[in-house]
Symmetry: C2
Subunit: 147 residues, 2 copies
Amino acid sequence: MKYAKEEAVFEKYISSGKLKQSKQRKNIMQAFLESGKHVTAEELYNAVKRKFPSVGLITVYRTLKLFCKCGLAREVCFENGTARYEHLYGRQHHDHLICSACGKVIEIEDPDIEKLQDRQYKMHGFVPQGHRMDLYGICRKCRMCQR
Amino acid sequence: MKYAKEEAVFEKYISSGKLKQSKQRKNIMQAFLESGKHVTAEELYNAVKRKFPSVGLITVYRTLKLFCKCGLAREVCFENGTARYEHLYGRQHHDHLICSACGKVIEIEDPDIEKLQDRQYKMHGFVPQGHRMDLYGICRKCRMCQR
DNA sequence: ACCGAAACTGAAAATGATTATCATTTTCAT
DNA sequence: ATGAAAATGATAATCATTTTCAGTTTCGGT
Ligand SMILES: [Mn+2]
Ligand SMILES: [Mn+2]
Ligand SMILES: [Zn+2]
Ligand SMILES: [Zn+2]
């Protein structure tokens, strides 16, 4: 159905390794695909539990790791320590603009910045492996309300 | 002596609040100023202990927080979760280029990137509060050795 | 459909970095 | 010198994440 492609990616990953399918994994995948962006392991766990009360938080952690390995998810950590997972399938690389007041996250893609980052890699003789750029600020709405 | 200015900043901060001086703080400050860049609380603790075995790790944590508050240090976290503290006094804002293989950290300042970041803030109606940009890659030396 | 090895699960315990508690010690203005 | 306020450090608590391990499930032969 709606997420056939994502499910195919995961199944391919499962069968290409010596991994096995399980209903827990299917349920967690389902909940992940339906979840909003940038979920916490715990948030996803709560979402799954609503429909499938038997799944454990530990399995959610393990399954999120699998999603990352097969390219369906990416782990991102903002300033507080907790890891968040975002959908990666069919998405471009992007960075984040975060409101420190309300936590809203805006995804930004700026090819000009990426070019300049490449310039830095070249200048220092590094082979790029990936980067993170998080811009923190206060959004318009929070400026209106707060004071 | 060598770090008179930094010490002055700290003393001013101490006396302007209702804080008090202590030999532990002096020792930790000493060790911090002499330390390399981007130390861990634990690394600093070990360095201090060599000269002053009585200081506790807890006090190192607390004192590092003070350094951050008075502008002598900045907390930075790279991809592994542990916090690192870098010298901030008399330093410009900068970002980091990190070798994923050997952990080497290169500090980069790129006004062009900063300009583009500001453009993003403006485009989305955010008031900037601070950002982090970490570029991960493999350095030249690591490419030679490793394979 | 059956088997068994290998993988998966989840509860409980372990981890590791950091923080809170609190009784004792130290600082510093009076 | 004195005492209130702050600092210290041992211990215990957090909190997110990982490890362990015994019981359960999957799946490729049969
Ligand atoms: Mn995102
Ligand atoms: Mn630095
Ligand atoms: Zn906001
Ligand atoms: Zn290197």
